[in-house]
């Protein structure tokens, strides 16, 4: 029953739009004949070949940089005495919920051609290279995506049973060799899994390249341009890019599964391994390293909050404080703010209603149906927001279900995009709940449905709540699907920012950024307090 509803929902709002994208990419210009012509034409053009190369190259570089930064960071957090570790750990998770294109925009305001730091350095006779293009994009990706590698790797370092390294040392390895030959290989799957998340995020990210790429062609941006098309919208060619993007991501995921399924040596540590005893030199170095990264990643967000309280005339910044930007925001952007709040709330509700039952089913039932449902529910993860949105427009623009032009299409797109996360996290929680609890309830006379409501659901509440908050926060800063699907009155905060970036209204953009940062951090802080109280109580 749940499975059927799940298939219905995902079929209508995921598979059908994607099928339309595929279909469009395979039809000729009259939409009548089946053809691979679009593919050969697109791939034949150097411009799009460059776009593919750029996207993959930047993604690979960002992934490598992120990994190189994060692994020592993770080791320091897990095993070295780092001053203020709790604070570092809390702050290190923040980039996951803060919108990355805000970071990109802040970098432009600081280091761009007319950036504050650039001008200041210029006045002092120092010239820095351009931040636009690959350098800037890679930098922003590394600073905003590093938690994807850091967090699982810290967990993995902590999960290595201390007897492993004791055995290695006992057999005569030096500590360095023990780390290299025993601990790193055990942790490697976690590092790789995190790295692939980073790679996939870079493939589908729209905001960062939109802000920083300038004239460098990037996949997701090109697909958007082709579809919205200032000259003439071209769904077939946008479809081709979309399909290529999906195939690339799917390929990456497949390789990951293949590789990781053969390596599973998680060891269950009974207690987290102890901190290493190291000298002052290393201790200070580790502390400096961790704090530098955490702060560097947050500086852009901090900077944009400060800048939002300064006066802008057009794109030009004047260095005195003013509330003008917020006055402008109040005039123009209250409706979008309300939209963002409403959409995020509705979407997190829908995601929970769709994702939690599916997560339960795919974890508890070991049938073929459950496996297929699992795969389908994970699929949105491999689909860039832009591409899904294009599919939505193609599917719900006409016919029996017309959604374009209204608010519902946004909520549905958000729901589909975030379902994989809800399914995963709900699945993880269900996994922790012993099956025999449910069996006990059933044998005491409660039907499976009552059992779910009375036993499973109460035990899941904590996890579901944090899932809702995370969904809420990420939906609030969603840009890539929004920018294709919004219309008229149904603009969101991110659209306001997007439009003012295009139109040069920097003041409004900074104010909107600040509001967005507050809007995302507030629920996180509330959740954190709630969890703390729950754990203490």
């Amino acid at each position: 029953m749940i499975a059927i509803l799940g298939f219905l929902f995902l079929g209508l709002f995921l598979l059908w739009p994607l099928a339309n994208v595929f279909g469009a990419s395979l039809l000729d210009s009259e939409g009548a004949q089946f053809t691979f012509g679009n593919y050969t034409r697109m791939l034949g053009r150097p411009y799009y070949r460059t776009a593919i190369a750029n996207t993959l190259g930047i993604g690979a570089a960002a992934t490598i940089l992120t990994t190189v930064i994060s692994v020592p960071f993770a080791f320091a957090l897990a095993r070295l005495p780092v001053a203020g570790k709790q604070a570092v750990q809390a702050m290190a998770a923040l980039p996951l919920v803060l919108p990355s294109f805000v970071s990109a925009y802040a970098i432009v305001l600081l280091l761009g051609n007319a950036g504050i730091v650039t001008r200041w350095l210029h006045d002092h006779g120092i010239a820095i290279g351009s931040i636009y293009g690959a350098t800037g994009i890679i930098l922003v990706y590394a600073l905003t995506l590093y938690p994807y590698v850091l967090l699982p790797t810290v967990a993995a370092f902590k999960a290595v049973d201390v007897s492993m390294e004791e055995a290695a040392l006992g057999l005569g390895s030096s500590p360095g060799r023990a780390v290299r030959t025993v601990i790193l290989p055990i942790v490697l799957p976690a590092i790789l899994a995190g790295g692939l998340l980073v790679f996939i995020e870079t493939l589908e990210n729209f905001g960062v390249p939109f802000v920083l790429a300038e004239d460098m062609p990037i996949f997701s941006v090109e697909a958007f341009k082709l579809f919205i098309g200032e000259t003439a919208a071209n769904p077939a060619q946008a479809g081709v890019l979309g399909v290529l993007l999906i195939l690339t991501t799917a390929l990456v995921l497949l390789v990951q599964r293949r590789f990781l399924s053969r390596r599973r040596f998680a060891t269950n540590a009974r207690a987290a391994p102890p901190l290493l005893r190291v000298g002052w030199g290393l201790r200070i170095a580790a502390t400096l390293y961790c704090w530098t990264i955490v702060l560097l990643a947050l500086v852009p967000f901090f900077a944009i909050v400060v800048l939002s309280f300064m006066e802008f005339r057009g794109p030009v910044l004047h260095e005195h404080f003013s509330l003008g930007n917020f006055a402008g925001f109040y005039d123009k952007a209250m409706r979008p703010l309300a939209n963002t709040l409403i959409f995020a709330s509705l979407a997190s509700l829908c995601v929970t209603l769709v994702g939690v039952p599916i997560g339960y089913v795919v974890t508890r039932w070991r049938s073929g149906t459950a496996t297929v449902l699992d795969v389908v529910a994970t699929l949105p993860f491999a689909v860039a927001g832009t591409v899904l949105a294009i599919g939505f427009v193609m599917s719900f623009n006409a016919g029996w279900l017309v959604l374009t032009g209204g608010p519902l299409i946004l909520v549905l797109a958000y729901t589909v995009r975030k379902v994989p996360f809800a399914v995963r996290s709900a699945g993880a929680i269900v996994h922790q709940i012993d099956v025999s609890l449910e069996e006990a309830s059933v044998s005491l006379g409660r039907s499976p449905l009552q059992t779910f409501l009375r036993i499973v659901a109460p035990l899941m509440v904590g996890g579901i709540l944090s899932g809702i908050v995370l969904t809420w926060v990420t939906v609030a800063s969603e840009l890539s699907a929004t920018v294709v699907l919004y219309s008229g009155d149904w603009r969101t905060l991110t659209v306001v920012m997007f439009q003012s970036l295009e139109g040069g209204g920097a003041g409004l953009a900074t104010a909107a950024s600040t509001v967005l940062i507050v809007v995302t951090l507030l629920p996180i802080a509330l959740l954190y307090r709630l969890v703390r109280r729950y754990e203490l109580g």
Binding site: S443, G445, Q450
Partner: protein
């Protein structure tokens, strides 16, 4: 309360026949134990009775009522799980009341029934505690009270003591037995521990590879094992070809270690065998000997501790066995 009648029950997982054509009659009020090594199908059979595992073939009845197609929550069984399965989000009293609420027992009666059930498992006054404040033994008592309070037709135990320490296991199994007797509920108990099985059961069903190997009262299964597997699984035994003992018949025999004695302590009509002490194991109340006979056969022998009698590995020794306890196994 009802007897349990299993006819031709089968279930395969992939190519493994977990339960293979099992026929079983369990009497009303009987304490029946399914005993066997891990993977023998005992838990699967129990879960078939509980309703958590569908049958590929066969049928199960409680009394006259066929229940194998009934969903688990309609079967009226009480089940006690290996890992307690006490609901962590409910109080002790909430756990015990859970089944009563499902049966829509009036609220006024629930309180007194819960208190009575907790009293039965010596947890009177623990009702308001949360499960995480309880020890493993106490959790299992909660689970037992929760299963008993609904007065089920059948009480099922899935290795309920295997997570408890050895001492607690011994006292809990006596309590379980005593509760079941005083309430007269039909009980099916699954364990891999033969000593536990022998101490609690009216009858034991010994399972191996999805089949019932032997069914009988504990003493019968121990003393008269019907198969080689039964002889070896129920405690230690000497499994020998008869000629190894100097007998002519071409059969395999089982001889328990305690059916052997040192020759000078044995009745005169017991056959004697000469050998040397190959190994000696002092276990406290018991001393175990491995005695190597001249033909190379090693016999295991167990006797009560005898401080006045020095025994040494390597020393020659003559042993005797009770011919009445020699069991031929197929």
């Amino acid at each position: 309360m009802a007897g349990i009648h299993v006819k031709g029950a089968s279930r395969s997982f992939g190519s493994v026949r977990a339960v293979d054509q099992v026929d079983l009659e369990i009497g009303e009020g009987e304490f029946f134990t399914l005993l066997g090594p891990s993977g023998c199908g005992k838990t699967t059979l129990l879960r078939m009775i509980a309703g958590f595992c569908e049958l590929d073939a066969g049928e199960i009845r409680f009394g006259d009522k066929r229940i194998d197609k009934l969903s688990a929550h309609r079967r009226d069984v009480g089940m006690v799980f290996q890992n307690y399965a006490v609901f962590p989000n409910l109080t002790v009293a909430g756990n015990v009341a859970y089944g009563l609420r499902a049966r829509r027992v009036p609220a006024a009666e629930i309180g007194s029934q819960v208190e009575a059930a907790l009293g039965m498992v010596q947890l009177g006054g623990y009702g308001e505690r949360m499960p995480h404040q309880l020890s493993g033994g106490q959790l299992q008592r909660v689970a037992i009270a929760r299963a008993l309070v609904i007065r089920p037709q059948v009480l099922l135990f899935d290795e309920p003591l295997s997570n408890l320490d050895a001492r607690l296991r011994v006292s809990m199994r006596a309590e379980i037995r005593q509760l079941q007797q005083s309430l007269g509920i039909t009980a099916v108990y699954v364990t891999h521990d033969q000593e536990e099985a022998m101490s609690v059961s009216d009858r034991i069903g010994l399972m191996n590879q999805g089949r019932l190997e032997q069914v009988g009262v504990p003493s019968e299964i121990y003393r008269k094992p019907a198969t080689r597997f039964a002889a070896e699984f129920m405690g230690t035994t000497n499994l020998l070809e008869a000629r190894q003992l100097g007998l002519a018949a071409p059969v395999t025999v089982s001889l328990r270690p305690e059916a052997l004695r040192l020759a000078d302590e044995a009745p005169a009509d017991w056959p004697r065998l000469a050998g040397t002490i190959a190994a000696l194991e002092m276990l406290g109340p018991l001393t175990r000997l491995d005695v190597a006979l001249a033909n190379g056969t090693v016999l295991r022998l167990a006797m009560l501790d005898q401080p006045q009698r020095p025994l040494q590995a390597g020393a020659p020794v003559t042993v005797a066995y009770d011919p009445a306890r020699l069991v031929i196994v197929p």
